[in-house]
Amino acid sequence: MDVLSSLGDGFAIALTAENLFLALVGCFLGTLMGALPGLGPANGVAIMIPIAFSLGLGPTPSLILLTSIYYGAMYGGRISSILLNIPGDEPAMMTCLDGYPMAQQGRAGEALTLSGIASFVGAFFATCGLVLLAPQLVKIALLFGPAEYFVLFTLAFATLGGITATNQAKSAFAAAFGLGIAMIGSDSQTGSQRFTFDHIHLYDGIDFLIAIVGLFALSEVFIFLEKHKSGEIGKTGAKVGKLLPDWKMVRRCIPTMGRGTIIGFISGVLPGAGASLGSFLAYSLEKQAVDRKGETFGEGDPRGVAAPEAGNNAASGGALVPMLALGVPGSGTTAVLLAVLLQLNITPGPLLFQKNPDVVWGLIAALFIGNFMLLIMNIPLVGLFTRVLLVPTRILMPVVAMISFVGIYSITGSTFDVMLMVGFGVLGWVLRKLTVPLVPVILGILLGNEMEVNLRRALTISDGDWSILVGSPLAIILWVIAIIGFTLPIFLGRRMRRRMEANRSG
């Protein structure tokens, strides 16, 4: 009851005309920023900070504006994934896998609506979790030492085989390639340079945003150029089809959303993991749960859209737990929000809930309000978004290229990074020609450093004793899941092949 009355106070703070207006503006801008490739939630929030301050907003209104942008961007990322096969931000990468095939089948409207609902479910329940469980959840986060984090990342790579059905060897190559790229830059443990060739722009490694925009967006443009020349391209993109999914489809996705929410939320709570891991695990584990034979996932299965969207939005709520309760940002965006809090003279940490209850509960109430607003805003806008598909590709692709260039330059302010993005575009084109999946490359870049650093930290702590990696019950449980996730597709694949052969001969 204590929680409810606090939340009631929070709503009293958040439900003023000014705050509601800010939430609306934030949700709208956030969705827009999320949908644009390159501009993700972290940059979106960072861009709005000076605006929030120059408007002279108080702590609570500023936070309401910025968290609305955060949630909005998490919603918006899916739009370009589904419509253009270009993830608007990194957690939306997994939504491409089934969202884009759905759009090509003329089910873009359904995919958008369904993913909007899944986003809402994920974010809503994650916010509830934040309200009810924040103090307890911190304890979960503290169960994870360096060894456990290493096993968690191993788990992610072990389940990679499951998501890209075509050729396991190519997935493995792609993941190794991504890990290789992650090794570029200053070694965070010793400060020594690796593969930087004394080039100062490489000292901090390669920003995964540059890799994502290059590999996904620019390679799409290159493929268009290639096809355009040979006259393979049609006048317009895909068909629009109906806008709303039928109730049967939504109902079939409810358990999917539930599982995605739980997995995403837990990943979000772990400071080292974050939304990308949440959406990835939600997708790959969902696939193993409902589509072991690999028949529908990747071909436009609605559940393949619902799972990662529920996962990444739940993770964005979960990521607020370590930020508020420990002052440890679990993602780029929460790092920015943390800076905002510090600037407002609010020190996140174990005492935040006691010291600044008005801010915390106002923020949480704002999250609920923003969430409903986003749902209400997103469903009617589906019709508008799908119009993008009616834009002729010859106009759409130059726009995509332009947004990519402007986006990357505005974030990094460096022409070197822009050239690097072009390099990744060419690379993405080559990899696509070789039918090497792109998701493992990004996963390698995203998780490679954390995985390595945690392994080395664990070994420093244990003085080089490798048994620390199986030194806790949690680590052993994670190993078991990883091994099952790795071997199951192999055995199932073999059995399936046998069955198919039997069918053929029979």
């Binding site: 972290a42 929030v45 960072a46 900070i49 000076p50 301050f53 120059s54 986060a141 503290l142 169960l143 994870f144 030492g145 360096p146 200053s186 070694d187 965070s188 443990q189 010793t190 400060g191 004394d198 100062i200 722009h201 000292y203 901090d204 400071p271 080292g272 370590p322 420990l326 002052g327 440890v328 940002p329 780029g332 790092a335 920015v336 943390l338 800076a339 510090l342 600037q343 003279n345 020190t347 996140p348 940490g349 174990p350 005492l351 935040l352 302010g413 460096s414 650093v453 930290r457 420093t460 702590i461 003085d463």
Partner: protein, 328 residues
């Protein structure tokens, strides 16, 4: 010849006059910018955003100051950007701290020296501290150093930055003061950021934490950790119950200053303007309250003082790094 000399003298005089006229004109800031050489959320980002807020609120600048994040090379990318591309920019300031001078000293910014930029000011500093979990067997620095001297690998010390960084140097200095011969034997576990290092301590992955006091404040108040030593010259006024390392017999002071630099080629007027601006900011009561809330001490250096201070700081770290064996 004579005529030519006269003409050139005239020309020289003319340039001098026009030059002095230009100087005489008041310097006016146009679209000011502060570069934070880190991602949003870090300490440097905080410096820029706080400075931007106060300079605007106090009407020192008319336009809002744009804060640009330029991460890379531990600040090296921003340093190179300023010296190579923006050397004459009058409207640019850059966030700096102890890490900046430490990295210049250790040669991490390739080919950079102190003279490449104009050191503007420091406006605060915070002292380092050593923390242990609440149920740690160590009650004071002496007990911890005793255990380390018995077996250096038995005590893992977490820090929020890489090997050889200031977070690492601080415990090495204490170990040296304790009479340990090879201080590089210390078990230092590097985390990415003070917050992460704190989770390492709270999850009992390590036995101790070396960091800045402000990062530990919340956890000290909640009772999750104990601070066994503060690396200041005397006890903090706000926390008089925490003993200094010095009074426990280890004469080590570790202060992490916060400040700003700007392009070396900026006009003298601009340099003077920014110096005054930061000075006015430090005189503001609200700013001092902010510092206090962030557990930072007042620590002001301007103009020549600042230059001397940075020079001394770089010299100290070079000397230390050589003694400890990080720098050859």
């Amino acid at each position: 010849m004579i005529r030519f000399a006269r003409i050139s003298a005239l020309a020289l005089a003319a340039t001098l006059i026009s030059g002095s006229l230009a100087v005489a004109e008041d310097f006016k800031v146009e679209s000011p910018q502060c570069i934070a050489p880190s991602n949003p959320g870090g300490g440097w980002d905080f410096i820029c955003r706080t400075t931007a807020k106060y300079l605007f609120d106090l009407d020192i600048i008319e336009d809002t100051m744009q804060v640009t994040n330029m991460s890379g090379g531990g600040g090296g990318v921003a340093f190179a950007h300023v010296t190579k591309e923006r050397n004459e920019d009058n409207n640019l300031i850059v966030a700096a701290s102890m890490s900046t001078s430490a990295r210049i000293a250790q040669g991490i910014y390739k080919g950079a020296s102190k003279e490449d930029v104009h050191w503007l000011a420091t406006f605060g500093a915070e002292y380092g501290a050593i923390a242990v979990p609440k149920d740690s067997p160590f009650n004071n620095l002496g007990e911890m150093m005793g255990a380390i001297k018995m077996n250096p690998r038995s005590v893992g010390i977490a820090g929020g930055s890489s090997v050889g960084s200031y977070d690492h140097i601080k415990p090495m200095l204490i170990a040296r003061a304790a009479g340990m011969e090879d201080v590089t034997k210390l078990k230092y576990v590097s985390y990415s950021g003070g917050g992460e290092a704190m989770t390492g301590l709270l999850s009992n992955s390590v036995e101790a934490l070396s960091g800045d006091f402000s990062e530990m404040l919340g956890f000290l108040e909640s009772g999750d950790i104990r601070i066994i030593a503060i690396l200041g010259p005397e006890r903090l006024k706000s926390h008089p119950d925490i003993p200094t390392a010095k009074e426990q017999g280890y004469d080590v002071v570790g202060a992490n200053w916060r400040g700003l630099y700007m392009p070396a080629g900026a006009s003298d007027k601009a340099k003077a303007f920014w110096k005054d601006a930061i000075m006015k900011m430090t005189e503001d009561e609200g700013f001092q309250k902010d510092l206090e809330a962030a557990a930072m001490a007042t620590f002001n250096n301007f103009g020549d003082d600042m230059d001397d201070f940075v020079e001394g700081s770089i010299k100290d770290i070079t000397k230390l790094s050589k003694e400890i064996g990080i720098l050859k």
